[in-house]
């Protein structure tokens, strides 16, 4: 059952197209995220659903009702604002009661419902405090209670965790999921933080330049990115330019340019039908690659590359190796499990073997332009070279 349907929705600001012909249908009860970098139009989209922006064209349909032209106060949706926007001159109780008060709910009902809501967000004992006396996480909870007490059909969340520190963010994320389960309504969540979107959402829509470039369950978007943008915006990845040199029933052979005049061949499964000689892009997630000192054994379904460790970044849960293959830099994540026989740690400048399963090579039907995104021609494999250099 579709709860909210967005049809051909566009919005421009002085000629700048912020939202460009967006079409989506969000099923009832889902936690749906819009994910994208700042300026991608995700917040504008949310504000149009809330009623704070008037679309240039298109429709927003909630249930059976066309809400495109309704003012915000007539829409059965509520918003959690980025900075919470609690009313500073009202107590927690009055903040939460605001919506009911506007609708002239009897006083006893207000009292009962506010306490129920405060219990839901675990803030029963803070009712008489003012927003200025609350911590960031507490403000967040009050903002949620203030919105949910109106029993909206859809709850809109605009980067709700952006102002919290990491630990609190992780905690509130779980809390939000619990609240979503408890109230069972549709949540629309806007964020630029891919890990947040991945962990909380039933479905994610990736946005770029006002358009939805891919939507689907988080694992689908992560494992099967449809575009170079999706691949490198969500998680980290290695991108190679490749050319199709061989086709079999289930496998394709690819020739990758390693930037030094040499090339190497890898195998891949495919999800679209490539043509012999076609140029495309390979996305290879760093955690899919194994790195060893010794040559791997059975190599039938594996791609094997030889490289030299250029850099080692210890990151606690895992180590990131930057391995030079020709002129390419390949990023490899390796967790600290002691399952290998050569337990002596890998060292700088050490020659190593990289290998990964053929099915983990992911093809993207786009040509990888040197100036696209922040991909550097010298280091096709390592798209965030600037960032890495900064870390050194």
């Amino acid at each position: 059952m579709t709860e909210i349907r967005i049809e051909n929705l566009s919005k421009d600001f002085d000629g700048f197209l912020a939202v460009d012909d967006v079409n989506i249908a969000i099923p009832f009860g889902e936690l749906y995220s819009f994910l994208g970098p700042s300026g991608c139009g995700k917040t504008t989209l949310l504000r149009m659903i809330a009623g704070f922006e008037i679309p240039r064209s298109g429709r927003i349909v909630l249930g059976e009702q066309d809400i495109t032209d309704l003012p915000p106060y007539k829409r059965p949706v509520n918003t959690i604002f980025q900075n919470y926007s609690l009313f500073p001159h009202m107590t927690v109780f009055d903040n939460v009661a605001f919506g009911l008060h506007i609708r002239k709910t009897p006083r006893e009902d207000i009292r009962a419902q506010v306490h129920k809501m405060l219990a839901l967000v675990k803030m029963e004992d803070q009712a008489s405090k003012y927003p200025a006396q609350l911590s960031g996480g507490q403000k967040q909870r009050i903002a949620i209670a203030r919105a949910l007490i109106n029993e909206p059909k859809v709850l809109l969340l605009d980067e709700p965790l952006a102002a919290l520190d990491l630990k609190l963010r992780q905690h509130m994320l779980i809390e939000l999921m619990n609240i979503h389960d408890a109230v069972g309504i549709t949540f629309i969540y806007v964020t630029h933080d891919q890990s947040e979107a991945m962990s909380i959402s039933d479905r994610v829509a990736v946005m770029e330049n006002g358009r939805i470039v891919q939507s689907g369950p988080p694992d689908d978007i992560y494992e099967r990115p449809a575009s170079i943008f999706s691949a490198y915006f969500i998680g980290e990845t290695n991108l190679f330019s490749a050319e199709v040199v061989g086709l079999e029933d289930e496998y394709v052979q690819l020739k990758c340019d390693s930037g030094d005049g040499q090339s190497f061949e890898i195998d891949s499964t495919f999800h679209f039908t490539p043509v012999l000689g076609q140029k495309l892009t390979v996305s290879l997630r760093p955690e899919k690659i194994a790195i060893t000192r010794g040559k791997p054994g059975n190599q039938d379904d594996f791609n094997v590359l030889r490289g030299t460790i250029e850099d080692i970044l210890y990151l606690g849960t895992h180590t990131q190796y930057i391995v030079k293959v020709g002129k390419l830099r390949v990023r490899v994540f390796s967790q600290h499990k002691r399952v290998y026989f050569d337990e002596k740690a890998l060292d700088w400048e050490e020659p190593v073997w990289l290998f990964w399963h053929d099915t983990d090579t992911w093809l993207i039907n786009e040509i990888h332009e040197p100036d696209q995104g922040n991909i550097n021609p010298e280091s096709v494999g390592s798209i965030q070279r600037g960032k890495r250099a900064g870390a050194n």
Partner: protein
């Protein structure tokens, strides 16, 4: 040992703090002296004069409550009433006119905002008396406004605008409007306008959002602006003198006449000044009480 050191450090810190306090008191000393010499002592002299007996030019040093008795039995009710009425209407009209202006300036883009603020301040660059005289030219029976009205056949004969209570209020509002706009602007400028979005998101229409969010959050500015307009308006002398009529004498004018006209009545002028001060102080106390009560609780 370490405990002892900690204690010593604490007492040292306390000492340093005390020292800093003393020096900050010292810094306020010039201002305190200034107020003492030029405000408190003169007011004390006024207070003493109000209990003396009037002479032709000065005072006789015999104690009497005559002046206060006359004020209390209502002989001077009208000038006080007129002054309060004028101050009240000036404040209310300034608030009603100033709020939208301050709101608009606060929401304007940076460049426009600065231009508008300068426009608000520009009248201060011209001498007050010159500005009041220009109003006289504007309002006079053969003045600018009347000739335009006659030309347009909106009036068959010149309207008596100058030397009316209306003219006094008009010019008062003109002069005191910036004193209302500026404090309002300073609170509205700090107002987080997403709060209005939040209120509308929760079901409040524009008017409701204004009365439950904007207005309560602007209340400091409203109080400040109201005080800045009301108190000077209470003692208005110049404007009623220049554009008002002699049938409506405001308390400020009466005080002046008591000193200027012979036989001079210093004690009466002093008593009226002091009564005015008491009334203003009383008003401030009431406003302060209202303000505190607003802060305390607003539970529905």
């Amino acid at each position: 040992m370490s405990r002892k050191t900690a204690l010593t450090r604490k007492s040292l810190e306390a000492q340093a703090l005390r020292k800093r306090n003393i020096s900050s008191y010292l810094l306020t000393l010039p201002a305190l002296l200034w107020l003492l010499v030029f405000f408190l002592i003169p007011y004390f002299i006024v207070l003493i004069y109000s209990f003396l007996t009037p002479g032709t030019y000065d005072v006789k040093f015999t104690f009497t409550l005559d002046a206060y008795r006359q004020i209390a039995n209502g002989s001077y009710l009208r000038p006080f009433f007129l002054a309060f009425r004028l101050a009240f209407f000036t404040t209310v009209i300034c608030l009603l006119l100033g709020f939208p202006v301050a709101y608009y300036i606060a929401r304007a883009k940076d460049k426009l905002r600065n231009t508008l603020l300068i426009l608000i301040i520009i009248p201060f660059w011209t001498n007050l008396i010159i500005r009041i005289f220009s109003w006289r030219i504007f309002l006079a029976s053969e003045g600018v406004l009347n000739s335009v009205l006659l030309k347009l056949h909106l009036a068959s004969q010149p309207l008596e605008l100058l030397r009316t209570d209306l003219a006094v209020i008009l010019v008062m509002v003109y002069v005191y409007l910036p004193y209302m706009i500026l404090p309002l602007y300073s609170v509205l400028e700090k107002l987080d306008f997403t709060l209005l979005h939040a209120a509308m998101d929760l079901g409040a229409n524009e008017a409701r959002a204004f009365f439950s969010i904007t207005l309560p959050l602007a209340v400091e500015g409203i109080f400040a602006g109201a005080l800045l307009v009301f108190i000077p308006a209470l003692g208005a002398y110049l404007i009623p003198q220049l554009v008002g009529n002699q049938q409506s004498l405001y308390v400020g004018q009466v005080i002046t006449y008591k000193i200027k006209n012979i036989p001079r009545n210093w004690p009466m002028a002093s008593a009226m000044s002091f009564t005015l001060l008491l009334l203003v102080a009383l008003l401030l106390l009431v406003m302060y009480y209202l303000y505190r009560r607003r802060l305390r609780s607003r539970t529905y």
